[in-house]
C-alpha cells in the first residue's frame, strides 16, 4: 500500500491522526496533514483506508498497486 496526502486540500480536522497516529501527523503551526509513513505495514491497512474514507477534504489517497 502507498499513501498520498494533499496538503492544499487538507482542512486540518485531525481525523486521520486520531485514527492512525503512526501514519499521519499534523503541522504544529496550522494543523495541516503530514505523512509519517507512506508505506505502512499490513496491520495498519484497514485503519489507513478508514482514515482516507472519513477524511472530510478528500486529502488522503491510497493505492494498493505497490
Amino acid at each position: 500500500m502507498k499513501v498520498f496526502v494533499d496538503q492544499d486540500k487538507c482542512c486540518g480536522a485531525g481525523t486521520c491522526v486520531m485514527l492512525a497516529p503512526d501514519v499521519f501527523d499534523q503541522r504544529d503551526e496550522d494543523g495541516i496533514v503530514v505523512l509519517l509513513d507512506g508505506q505502512p505495514s499490513e496491520g495498519l491497512h484497514p485503519i489507513v483506508r478508514e482514515a482516507a474514507n472519513v477524511c472530510p477534504a478528500g486529502a488522503i489517497t491510497v493505492s494498493d498497486n505497490a
Binding site: 486540500k9 482542512c11 486540518g12 480536522a13 485531525g14 481525523t15 491522526v17 486520531m18 485514527l19 497516529p21 499534523q26 504544529d28 503551526e29 496550522d30 494543523g31 495541516i32 478508514e50 474514507n53 472519513v54 472530510p56 477534504a57 478528500g58
Partner: protein
C-alpha cells in the same frame, strides 16, 4: 401532486431522540426532495448518507451565504452574526480557517486532557456538596465547555452569563431578526474589546495569536472579532447540549449507561462518544449550501443557484450505513457518522469536543452512579426551537 413539505419538520411526541418521522419517510422514498423553508423559499433536502457526503465534498457546492439562493436559516450579513469562515468558500475560507487550526490539533487537545479532567472533577465535587435536585445544564453541562473554551480563546470565564445569554438568543430559531442582530452586536463588541486588549497586552491564547496576524497585516481586526464570536458560541453551545442530552439519553437506556459506568476502558468510552454523536446529532437544522453549477445526482438535477439542505441527523440513521440505526448501541463502530458535517467545512473543534465528551462520559456516571432524573421525560423542555438541539433544563438527583 402533493403539497411541498416544510423544513424544519417536527419530531414525534414521545420520541425526543429521533429525527422527525416525515424525514425518515422521505429518506426511504427518495434521496433528494424539494422543501419549503421558513422564509418561503424552497431548497433541496438531501436525506441519504451517500448523497450528503458527495455533495458536501463537491467543489460545485458553495457555503457562501451572500449568494442568492442560499437557504439561510436566519437573516445574515449582519456584522454581529456568527458568520466568519463557516459561511465562505475557499480560498478565503481556508486562509482564515488555517489561522485558528493550530490549537485544535490532536496533540494540543490531548495535552489539555488533564486540565479538562480537573475541571470536570471539581464541578462534580461541587455537585455532590450542593443541594439536590439540581439542574445539570446550569451546574455542569454548560460550565464544562464554557470554562474550557474561555481558557483556549482567552475569554474571562467571569463573563459567562453575558456570552451564554447572548448565544442563546442567537441560536434560537424563533428569535426576531432585530433581537438576534442586537445580541450579535453585543457579542461582537465584547470580542472586539478583548481583541483590542490583547493587541496591547498579548497572552498565551488563541485570540492573542490572532492579534499577531493583525499586526502583520494578514487579518482585519473585525475578522478576528468575528472569528472570536463564532468560536465562543460553537465552543460551548454544542458540547453543552451533547453533555445534557447525552446524559438524558443514557438515563433512558440504563443498560448502555451501565457500560460506561462500569467500564473505564478508554476505547469503549471513545466509541460511546462517536455513537452518541451519531444517535443524537444535535446540529438538527441541516448543513446549508447553494449550487454553483448544475449538478446531476441520484437521477435529479440541482440547478445552479438552488439551495441545498443536508440533514445530517437523518443521514446518521441511514440503514444502508448503520445497522439497526435507531438503536443506541455504544459498542457499535459509529466513526463514519456525519454529526460534525463533511467536506472542508467539517467541524474545526471536533478533537476538542471529542476529548471533552470522553472525559465527561467517563467520569460523571462513575462518580455519581445513582444519578437519575428528578422529573419525568414528559416534563423536560427540549430545544425544538434551537438551531442546535438539546434540553433547556435537566433536573437530576442521586
Amino acid at each position: 401532486m402533493t403539497s411541498m413539505l416544510e423544513f424544519p419538520m417536527a419530531r414525534a411526541a414521545g420520541c425526543p431522540f429521533d429525527p422527525p418521522p416525515a424525514m425518515q419517510t422521505l429518506r426511504e422514498q427518495t434521496p433528494l426532495t424539494r422543501v419549503r423553508i421558513s422564509d418561503g423559499k424552497t431548497a433541496w433536502l438531501v436525506t441519504r448518507y451517500a448523497e450528503q457526503r458527495a455533495l458536501l465534498a463537491d467543489p460545485r457546492v458553495s457555503s457562501d451565504v451572500t449568494r442568492p439562493g442560499y437557504p439561510s436559516p436566519m437573516p445574515v450579513g449582519e456584522r454581529g452574526a456568527p458568520v466568519s469562515f463557516i459561511l465562505m468558500d475557499d480560498p478565503e475560507h481556508a486562509r482564515l480557517r488555517r489561522m485558528v487550526t493550530a490549537p485544535f490539533t490532536i496533540k494540543r487537545i490531548e495535552a489539555m486532557r488533564p486540565g479538562v479532567q480537573k475541571i470536570v472533577d471539581d464541578l462534580i465535587d461541587d455537585l455532590l456538596a450542593g443541594p439536590k435536585p439540581v439542574d445539570l445544564v446550569e451546574a455542569f453541562a454548560l460550565p464544562v465547555p464554557s470554562l474550557v473554551i474561555c481558557q483556549l480563546l482567552g475569554v474571562p470565564y467571569a463573563d459567562h452569563d453575558f456570552f451564554q445569554d447572548n448565544s442563546k438568543v442567537i441560536i434560537n430559531r424563533e428569535t426576531a431578526p432585530e433581537e438576534r442582530r442586537a445580541a450579535g452586536d453585543r457579542l461582537y463588541a465584547y470580542l472586539d474589546r478583548l481583541v483590542g486588549e490583547k493587541l496591547d497586552n498579548p497572552g498565551d491564547d488563541l485570540l492573542s495569536g490572532l492579534t499577531q496576524r493583525i499586526r502583520d497585516g494578514e487579518l482585519a481586526r473585525s475578522d478576528a472579532a468575528q472569528m472570536g464570536v463564532l468560536m465562543l458560541i460553537a465552543g460551548h453551545e454544542t458540547t453543552a447540549n451533547m453533555i445534557a442530552l447525552g446524559t438524558l439519553a443514557l438515563l433512558q437506556h440504563p443498560d448502555q449507561l451501565a457500560l460506561l459506568r462500569e467500564s473505564g476502558d478508554p476505547k469503549l468510552v471513545a466509541g460511546a462518544v462517536e455513537e452518541l454523536l451519531r444517535y443524537l446529532n444535535i446540529t438538527h437544522s441541516g448543513r446549508r449550501r447553494v449550487a454553483l453549477q448544475d449538478i446531476e445526482i441520484a437521477g435529479q438535477v440541482i440547478r445552479a443557484g438552488e439551495g441545498i439542505i443536508l440533514a445530517n441527523d437523518i443521514a446518521n440513521r441511514d440503514p444502508s450505513v448503520f445497522e439497526d440505526p435507531d438503536r443506541l448501541d455504544l459498542r457499535r463502530d459509529a466513526r463514519r457518522h456525519v454529526a460534525f458535517g463533511f467536506g472542508v467545512h467539517q467541524c474545526l473543534g471536533q478533537p476538542l469536543a471529542r476529548m471533552e465528551l470522553q472525559v465527561v462520559y467517563d467520569t460523571l456516571y462513575r462518580r455519581i452512579p445513582t444519578l437519575r432524573l428528578a422529573t419525568t421525560l414528559e416534563e423536560i423542555p427540549f430545544k425544538h426551537d434551537g438551531a442546535v438541539y438539546g434540553v433547556y433544563e435537566l433536573p437530576v438527583t442521586w
